[in-house]
Amino acid sequence: MMDLLDLAVERMRAEGADFCDARHQVITTTAVAVVDAAVKRISEDRMRGACLRARKKGAWGYATTVDVSKEALVEAAALAVRNAMAGNASGRPIPERAGLRSDLRAEVGLHPAEVGTEEKVQAVLDMDRAQRVDPRIVNTNSMLREEIRQNMLVSSHDRHLSWEEVRSTIMVEAVASEAGRTEFFYDIKGGTRGYEVVRDTDLEAFGRQVGKEAVKMLTAEKAPSGLLTCITSPSISGLLAHEVMGHASEADEIVKRRSFLTDMVGKEVGSPLITMLDDGTVPGARGTIPFDDEGTAASRTVIIKDGVYQGYMQSLETAAEMDVEPTGNGRAQSYDRRVWVRMTNTFFDKGDQDLDEMIADVRYGVLTDRMISGMEDPVGGGFEAKALRGYLIENGRVTRMLRSFTLTGNALEILRTADAVSDTVELDGGTCGKGIEDWVPVSSGGPHCRFKIVLGGD
């Protein structure tokens, strides 16, 4: 296939592309889903196709196809260049880079292909049955998902790369109901790992704990509203890092001056306790990649250091515009989606405080637990994170459980209020969209952080 991609690149150059690349991808996804102790879905999905991408001046042309024959690729290559020439965006040329050849297999403990499907089905059934800890559990859901990506890329910079990515995820979710009230709880494990995700987990305990927590949720109370002291759990700290500071640090937003962090390098944007990173090399994390989808090796980007803003995440194009080095953040959902600046593993770095000490200092506030979702706002810097639940803190002690609520406010104002950061970082895997589409695997997280944040919940 590499030789066909080479041909396609040659054709795009001959047609007049300033820069071009050809990607081929095979994505195989295996899923086992169990609902209420019965196998609901056992499936394997396979995607195979190629993307031809050409740049002329500042405009890109794309053509994608599932037909990867020589004729189809060459035809698509010509179409990509025609589309690029029809655009009218301006931009600086992408500088030449040194050629590179590489062929990498995923480094995982136990490759999913080496484990039989029967064992996987039984594992998911075990997780599901374990959730039935109480008659108030009315519904249980369990899932194993494995994805293997075989990537191949040739670019006009003489990059000839092939690499594999493996991601595994297990998830359980229990629904509890009593006297007309229904609540749920979930847990997820996974990352750029193989079947060791399952083998290293006590599946019985994993499922049982989620069942117990779902039942506890039935007594959770309404959260207080207004501006409060809030200790964010790693997943909520991660939403603040990812959704607001992260999306606004993607350099395409900076080039367009759409981000509230434009021109902020060297300026104070938070308490000195705040350091934030995007690091595509964290072993086992869900957003880890050997190369981005433009063939740049993943790297560790310091975005905030001790409260001072440091720099942005870059693709080839934005790095050219800003005259800096690319950081390995040019990513695409799959071969049939566009490449643009995306995060990998984005998180606040650890501090030096113990969580119990952080709680002991709070007279009245909230400790969050588990996230539901968050939303980006690169223009305004607004923060919105939905927490699945939390706890009230009264006079230095955790007291009552609180049901789902939302945290909001201006991100920079929130970061300036940070007065304590715990000594342990945790990362949560997820899938990130940009704008309204283009979903890529990422992780986000951080330590427990103590801020002043506006809360509201029903």
Binding site: V35, I42, S43, E44, N83, V175, S225, V255, K256, G456
Partner: protein, 451 residues
């Protein structure tokens, strides 16, 4: 490749492999997209997608597989994989067979000529017109205009055989004022055709929204009042809550708040929801759903009373009822990779019948409240109905008049309770995703600001 014949041929092959029941679903898509970046045409994309999904039952055990499709060999491997997976599964307690052949209950043509003949050049011109309509002092940092042709064919072992072709158009543009502390606006267009997209009007709305958002002040304190939610925000709120509760599976699994509510009140008399799968304005409209059951117009909530839940074929067998023709794999925003998607049970087109009031009428009757323009992420917890949504831009209303624009506050409530307190229904329905709904005024929602 003739999709219908290939689907039938693949079905025979899967049955030869040992499947007792089987379904083959093939999709061919051409998708064109023009992306705007900072007022300029940044990307033009022309994509061809062809794929298949196979679902089988082998001795009461279910398996499924999907693949992109370049040759018949890939389809045969996909079928063999589905059979092999089914053999490794467990006996299913509910599944008997796929839907049998039935004549359609109604007709709709959602194949619009302006999309069939569209090129990337067509999209380029339309998208550029939107940008020009904004005028001086504003820009479109991001925008996309997409047009797709979706052909799908299905065959199953119970005699269902269908082929439908439809078109889709989706546009999503953001606008932004220049200078310090910019305001942002957002507009969306969903349809089966391009003709309803008025670039001038869209550009003007984008301009107004961004300018209004720039002048917004942060809301302080809290209040409980009337809140008007426009169609573009209400659609996602309804789909994540009412859509969840209408899904018969959620009722059967005891996780839906509407599980025992058919025939009972779930809203006040102004709540009037229907599924109208043959509306030509919506790109999801179809004669058959994505597993071969004929679609049908049906009331969902009439004057506040829940009339029907929706069932796909599997959960209809589980609940011992008939499937309602609501198994949907398609997406009104993106036509690619449909064969990979597990279907969801949802209204094909969720209709809230228009009322008689304009938004201005609603404002004049309000003591205190908001008219929302933009929410950060208008999602509701479907299990509980709870929501607390960041308001990015809204008109503040006091004593029947607009008192400026506000932002940075939370709109807090419970959607299921809010349906009992609908104060007015607007006369401005529009197509939003797979909803055709107007603005709706809800009473008694909480607004929480900082301090």
């Amino acid at each position: 490749m003739d999709l219908e014949r290939t689907a039938e041929k693949a079905l025979r092959k899967v049955l030869e492999e040992g499947a007792k029941e089987a379904e083959t679903y093939l999709v061919r898509v051409r998708s064109l997209t023009a992306y705007i970046d900072d007022d300029r045409i940044k990307n033009l994309e022309d994509k061809l997608d062809l794929g298949a999904s196979v679902r089988v039952s082998v001795n009461g055990r279910l398996g499924q597989s999907s693949t992109t499709l370049h040759s018949l060999r890939e389809l045969e491997e996909c079928g063999a994989k589905a059979v092999a997976l089914a053999r490794l599964s467990r006996p299913d307690p509910h599944f008997k067979r796929f839907p049998g052949f039935q004549y359609p209950s109604g007709t709709v043509d959602v194949c619009q000529e302006d999309v069939l003949s569209a090129t990337t050049e067509t999209l380029r011109e339309k998208a550029s017109e939107v940008v020009r309509a904004l005028g001086e002092g504003l820009k479109v940092p991001r925008g996309l205009l997409r047009a797709g042709v979706v052909e799908r064919s299905l065959a199953n072992s119970n005699g269902a055989l269908l082929r439908e072709r439809g078109t889709m158009v989706y546009a999503h543009f953001t606008s932004m004022t220049q200078g310090a502390d910019p305001g942002e606006g957002c507009e969306r267009y969903c349809s089966s055709g391009l003709s309803g997209l008025d670039p001038q009007a869209m550009g003007e709305r984008l301009r107004d929204k961004a300018v209004n958002a720039q002048g917004a002040v942060h809301f302080k304190g809290r209040m409980t009042g009337s809140v008007v939610i426009p169609p573009e925000e209400l659609a996602e709120m309804l789909l994540s809550s009412v859509g969840y509760s209408l899904d018969g599976e959620n009722a059967l699994r005891q996780r839906s708040p509407w599980k025992d509510m058919v025939g009972k009140e779930v809203g006040n008399r102004l709540v009037d929801l229907h599924d109208r799968p043959w509306d030509p304005r919506s790109s999801l409209s179809c004669q058959y759903d994505d597993e071969g059951t004929p679609t049908k117009e049906r009331p969902l909530v009439e004057r506040g009373v829940l009339r029907n839940l929706l069932y796909d074929n599997y959960h209809a067998q589980m609940g011992k009822v008939s499937p309602t023709g609501n198994y949907v794999r398609r997406d009104p925003t993106d036509p690619l990779n449909l064969y990979r998607r597990g279907g969801a049970t949802m209204p094909v087109n969720l209709i809230w019948g228009p009322g008689g009031k304009s938004v201005e009428d609603m404002i004049s009757g309000m003591e205190e409240g908001l008219v929302v323009e933009k929410l950060a992420a208008p999602e509701v917890n479907g299990v509980t109905g709870g929501f607390a949504l960041e308001v990015r831009s809204a008109r503040l209303v006091r004593e029947g008049a607009v008192d400026g624009y506000i932002d940075q506050c939370l709109l807090v409530g419970n959607l299921y309770q809010a349906l009992m307190r609908v104060g007015a229904v607007g006369d401005d329905p529009s197509v939003q995703l797979n909803c055709i709904i107007p603005s709706v005024l809800f009473e008694g929602l909480e607004i929480v600001g900082s301090e």
